[in-house]
C-alpha cells in the first residue's frame, strides 16, 4: 500500500472506531448522537482519502494545462484526483446533517418524556 494517502485513511478509520466506541459505551443520549456523527465524519474522510492521488489537483478544470486536447475540451485524466468519491461524499454530508437533526429531535422528545438523558432509563425500548 504505497499510495501516499495512508495517513488520511488511517485517520478516517480511527475516527470511525472512536465513533463506534462512543455509541457502545456512553450512556448519555447526546453523546451517542455525537458518536453517530463521528462515524459519519470518519466514513466521509475515508471515502475521500480513497479517491486521492498524490501530486494531482482538485477536479476543477480552470487551467488549460489540465486539458488533453484544447480544441475538443478533453480533460487529461492524469492531472486530477478521482471526482466520484467527492460527489458521493457531498451527498453523504447532506444526508448526515438531516439524520443528525432527526436524532436530536428524538432526544428532545425523549428528554421531555423521561426527564433524563440516561439511555438506561428507557428500558422499554430494550431488545
Amino acid at each position: 500500500m504505497m499510495a501516499g494517502n495512508e495517513l488520511y485513511v488511517a485517520t478516517g478509520l480511527i475516527v470511525i472506531l472512536i465513533g463506534f466506541a462512543t455509541v457502545l459505551v456512553k450512556r448519555n443520549l447526546l453523546k451517542i448522537v455525537i458518536g453517530f456523527s463521528l462515524i459519519d465524519s470518519g466514513t466521509n474522510l475515508l471515502i475521500v482519502a480513497l479517491g486521492f492521488y498524490p501530486g494531482r489537483t482538485a477536479p476543477i478544470v480552470n487551467n488549460p494545462d489540465m486539458l488533453a486536447n484544447r480544441a475538443s475540451l478533453l480533460v487529461n485524466t492524469a492531472k486530477v484526483v478521482d471526482p466520484v468519491p467527492q460527489a458521493l461524499v457531498l451527498t453523504a454530508i447532506v444526508i448526515g446533517v438531516g439524520v443528525t437533526a432527526l436524532m436530536l429531535a428524538y432526544v428532545v422528545r425523549l428528554y421531555a418524556t423521561g426527564k433524563t438523558l440516561d439511555v438506561r432509563q428507557f428500558g422499554r425500548m430494550k431488545w
Binding site: I16, A21, G98, R109
Partner: protein, 233 residues
C-alpha cells in the same frame, strides 16, 4: 460484561475495515470514472467536474437526496411540532452589540451564500454548500433574537417552487434531449470557464441552493423554538 462485548465489537469492526481498505485502494480510474473525467467538460461545459457528476451524470441521485433532506427536516419538524413542555430558563436577551451585528451581517452572509451556489459549476461550491451558508445567517438572526418570526409562508413557497423547478428542468431534458435531466441540447453550453455556461447545471444548482437554504432555516427555527410551554403554538 457489556464492556467486554463492546471491546470485542470495536476490535472486530476495526479489523474488518483494515482488511477491506487495501481492496478499495486507488489503482487508477475505472471505465466510468475515466469517462466522467475525460468527457465531463465536453459533455457539460462546467469546469467543476464534481458538480457535473452531482448535477448531471448522477442528477437523478441528487433529486433523491434533496427528497431525503426534505423528509428528514419534515420528520424533525413533526417530532418537535408539539411544544415539549420542558422547563427552560428564561433566555437572557442578547446584547445590543450582538443584535446590531447580526442585523448587519445577515445580508452579506446571504449574498455570500448566493455567490457560492451561483458559481457552483466553476469553483468548489454549489447548492448544498451555499444553502448551508444562508441557513447559518438565519441561525445568527435567531441567536440574536429568539422571538424573531421567520416568514414561514414565503420559505415554504420558495422550497416547494425550487423543488418543482428541479423536476421541470429534468422534464425539459426528457422532452428536448430524450433523457431525464439531460444537459446537452437543452441550453447552449456556452464558453468554458464563464459564469453563464454549462447549460442547465447552474439553474439546477441555484434551485437546490434556495431549497436547501429554506429547508435548513425552517429546521433551525423549529429547533430553536422546541422548548417552551405546552399550550403555545
Amino acid at each position: 460484561m457489556k464492556q467486554i462485548i463492546s471491546i470485542i465489537a470495536i476490535v472486530t469492526i476495526g479489523f474488518v475495515l483494515w482488511q477491506l481498505v487495501p481492496i478499495a485502494m486507488p489503482s487508477g480510474f475505472g471505465a466510468v470514472t475515466h469517462h466522467y473525467v475525460a468527457d465531463g467538460l465536453k459533455d457539460n461545459g462546467g469546469s467543476n467536474l464534481v458538480t457535473s457528476i452531482v448535477v448531471n451524470y448522477r442528477g437523478f441521485d441528487t433529486l433523491g437526496e434533496v427528497t431525503v433532506l426534505f423528509l428528514s427536516v419534515s420528520g424533525a419538524a413533526f417530532v418537535l411540532r408539539r411544544r415539549s413542555g420542558l422547563e427552560v430558563q428564561e433566555p437572557v436577551p442578547a446584547s445590543e452589540i450582538v443584535q446590531t451585528g447580526a442585523r448587519m451581517l445577515f445580508a452579506p452572509i446571504v449574498v455570500f451564500g448566493a455567490y457560492i451556489f451561483v458559481h457552483g459549476h466553476l469553483t468548489p461550491g454549489g447548492g448544498f454548500q451555499g444553502g448551508a451558508v444562508i441557513a447559518s445567517g438565519v441561525l445568527l438572526l435567531l441567536l440574536a433574537n429568539r422571538d424573531r418570526a421567520l416568514p414561514h409562508g414565503l420559505l415554504s413557497w420558495v422550497e416547494s417552487l425550487s423543488g418543482f423547478g428541479f423536476v421541470l428542468a429534468g422534464l425539459a431534458g426528457l422532452i428536448v434531449a430524450g433523457s431525464f435531466l439531460a444537459n446537452k441540447g437543452v441550453l447552449p453550453l456556452g464558453q468554458w470557464n464563464r459564469l453563464v455556461s454549462a447549460g442547465v447545471i447552474p439553474i439546477i444548482y441555484i434551485l437546490i441552493g434556495l431549497k436547501v437554504g429554506s429547508e435548513l432555516s425552517v429546521l433551525l427555527d423549529v429547533m430553536v423554538h422546541a422548548a417552551g410551554d405546552e399550550e403555545a403554538n
